[in-house]
Symmetry: C2
Subunit: 484 residues, 2 copies
């Protein structure tokens, strides 16, 4: 039985098969791209989730699409599991090679191939870091909205694989909403372009949309075509504090009812504010909830919108509403927000950060339930996240290893509450290994089995990123039996 | 060999099988929902494309999801082709029952189930007319942007099936960009919800995105969850005229480079303006191209944006730039635009209106090629459409039946030019039967075969909307051989 902080493990290759796979890859790709030293295996074993790292048997450092195709050809011919990986910054175990085998690392494919200013399109390789993409297109007056909090190190290949999003999803949506087309390689090494290079296009099924968010289980991305918009002229950042999360919840609904769509409304609950204070940020002691909100738009419009949202916050009982007066104030605010994940991780020996979504009117109800769960299981919990779209990160923090079963019980109760409230298990981190045991609870047998059959179209032998999304072996108490 | 104005025909059921199917459906659904009179069959035989209508053998008038499931169960058990249909306003033959069999009509399922003002979500049945949806949500201060020109009669079920779009797609995208979730029934009658009811959600593959635009070949929609935004406070509509399409093309690029994203930029070429003049609309005789542009936003911002776009048009050499002064001027302008399809249809005995997309910088190059094609084949052609996103409707108009082979040659040359320019075969009408012969030209064997295998996951016997998207039998000169 798998615990909450240990990944599922599938059977591994025998040592002589490992030798054959390494030798074959080296012959096809050259020694410099095929590594199996301890440091390289270690560096490609885990992600940023709570799932236990598992060493691969060999790492392919792809430098181009041909390398990716070659690795996928070898994997198919030798029937070896292969797990694609970009920055490895995922939060659900998606990049953990749970059956060992090959890790196919695309982080070295990091060219921004083309920024087309006239078409508002950018073409990038999967290893391009999100923040680098932001800077490159913004230098041309353009804007790529998705902004995962890990933007300083996460990569586009993983963003596509997980359909990553961030605070600005409230106004601008997630990666899929900006994805036009993909060059991909399939198990077996065949390659194709899916999607389009134009803004519109409905020719055939939207295979690109299917692949986006498929967590590296269907195909491996070698190039990405994304659409862009003009960079907003002005962004106004506001911070509002409240006496409790219910007041903050009312303020969120009031803001969203104002006719303005803020580009983000981020919520920090009472315990998260304690973590923020512990990092030396001055927050009024009476504040038990905070909203960080941004509006953007034209030069005048953004200010007018911010004023309107701010007055809704006041009406809803904000203790204070502060507007960042310059870029450095704004950067400090966001730096604090982006540091929440590592900051809260430092608060205890063990942390699980869950990513759930409820209808936004249900955010206070979910936070009440989180309080009840925390009390019931005797484990510290805190919550922050994207209140405007109901996507919250609920954190469990504990030191005592023996408390793991309590956490597991808390997780189960949390997910059931989310579904009862009309929500979904994941807003931006994906299912990976961490939520696979609960997938049927949300989606039912028919839809899960349908997805497994879609998976089999791309990967009939289950070689590509095995053990992800659909692997329920931990829950059923049985081990997976794949042909590897 | 199929001609350009005749649909592919697949083998039909024998008369005794037709009797059995009708009797079985009547038993399951009741006589009132199962009709086979001549008028009903005729009314469910064609769509608004140039594809020849083909009579079904029986029509099921579904009133609820259970009726849809029952029809799909009977179809699977008796191995009978079944073609879903909402308003039948499609433009690519998608709703034409090319093998006869059952037409499953969902236009009677036309309830707006819920408008959730707090969540900005609407839940509708597939038979709801798009314009009715617009009115209903706008009465609540909300906005559903997709605006197919057939909005007065097209229905949401078809919009989802074709991933329909309209002028406002430039700023707001197509149906898929607003789709959160679907209740669907599968061949065999099983039903499931796919997607989510929340704004964000990445749990499992995005099956809803895959179904949207699948042209009724994978599943049948029984309920649709769409997201909404606040209704823009102000819309400014402008009309600009130009001496030729190259000047108009430069103006489009200048406007799109202004930092503003207009919600639409519609182009009418010289021959289309002749059609407009023939409808009694006064257009300066010197004008050989027209752009109809809208910007929206906050009360002040929209006017400021319109001014900026207008001055870009002036700089690009507009003959005149007029701003609609009130709602009635605006409505008249759009009425003329929406009437283009029927107006141009009235210009000749035969009309084919193609829907193609090129990168927006290539619009003038495509229009030059259209002129060359028209001259080469001796057939009148005109073009209008969504210049801002490069999605153009290229029309062939002819009277002499013998000119059909010329038109076919012109179509082939047009599609090849579109692909050479980096475009795609369809921007909003879908492949249906009309473009199936050219699908491989754009997508290649690997991707087409992959999609056929995806289709087989949902519909292994090819019963659901057979002959669509992938049926190349006309091109290869062979007939389709399905197990029906």
């Amino acid at each position: 039985m798998r615990g909450v902080v240990t990944s599922i493990r599938l059977p591994r290759l025998s040592p002589d098969r490992v030798d054959r796979v390494r030798a074959r890859l080296a012959r096809e790709l050259g020694d410099s791209k095929v590594v199996a030293d301890a440091a390289s295996l270690e560096a490609n074993a885990g992600d940023e989730s709570d799932q236990e790292p598992i060493l691969p048997d060999v790492v392919v450092r792809a430098e181009n699409a041909e390398d990716v195709a070659a690795a996928l050809r070898v994997a198919a011919e030798l029937e070896v599991p292969i797990t694609p990986r970009a920055a490895g910054s995922g939060k659900s175990g998606g990049a953990v090679p749970v059956a060992g085998g090959i890790v196919l690392a695309t982080i070295g494919m990091n060219r921004i191939v083309d920024i087309d200013r006239a078409e508002h399109v950018v073409v990038v390789e999967p290893g391009v870091v999100l923040g680098d993409l932001h800077r490159a297109v913004e230098a041309e007056g353009l804007f790529y909205p998705p902004d995962a909090n890990s933007l300083a190190w996460c990569a586009i290949g993983g963003n596509v694989g997980e359909n990553a999003a961030g605070p600005r999803a409230l106004k601008y949506g997630a990666t899929r909403d900006w994805l036009l087309g993909l060059d991909v390689a399939l198990v077996g090494g065949e390659a194709t372009f899916v999607g389009r290079r134009t803004k519109k296009g409905v020719t055939g099924y939207d295979v690109a949309a299917l692949l986006c968010g498929s967590e590296g289980t269907l195909a491996v991305t070698t190039r990405v075509v994304l659409r862009l918009i003009p960079k907003p002229e002005r962004v106004v950042t506001m911070m509002a504090t409240f006496a409790d999360v219910h007041a903050a919840g009312r303020a969120v609904m009031a803001a969203l009812g104002s006719g303005i769509v803020p580009r983000c409304i981020e919520l920090l609950d009472a315990r998260t504010l304690d973590a923020v204070r512990a990092r030396g940020v001055a927050v009024d002691e009476g504040a038990r909830a905070m909203l960080i909100t941004e509006v953007d738009g034209g030069e005048d419009d953004a200010m007018e919108s911010a004023g309107r949202v701010g007055s809704r916050f006041d009406d809803a009982g904000a203790l204070a509403v502060l507007v960042a007066q310059d870029a450095s104030q704004r950067d400090r605010l966001w730096e604090a927000r982006r540091q929440l994940s590592p900051a809260t991780r430092a608060m205890a020996r063990h942390k699980i950060s869950e990513d759930v979504v409820v209808p936004r009117t249900k955010v206070p109800a979910l936070l009440d339930e989180v309080d009840r769960i925390s009390e019931a299981i005797g484990v510290s919990m805190l919550t922050y996240g994207h209140a405007g779209d109901g996507n919250l990160h609920v954190n469990f923090l504990w030191d005592d290893d023996d408390h793991e079963p309590r956490v597991e019980a808390g997780l189960d109760r949390l997910f059931r509450a989310v579904l009862t409230l009309g929500g979904t298990l994941s807003g931006e981190h994906g299912v990976g290994t961490s939520k696979a045991p609960w997938l049927r609870l949300e989606q039912g047998d028919l839809l899960v089995d349908l997805q497994r059959r879609l998976k089999a179209v791309f990967d009939p032998k289950g070689l590509l990123n095995p053990g992800k999304i659909f692997d329920e072996s931990a829950r059923s108490g049985t081990k997976g039996h794949r042909a590897c």
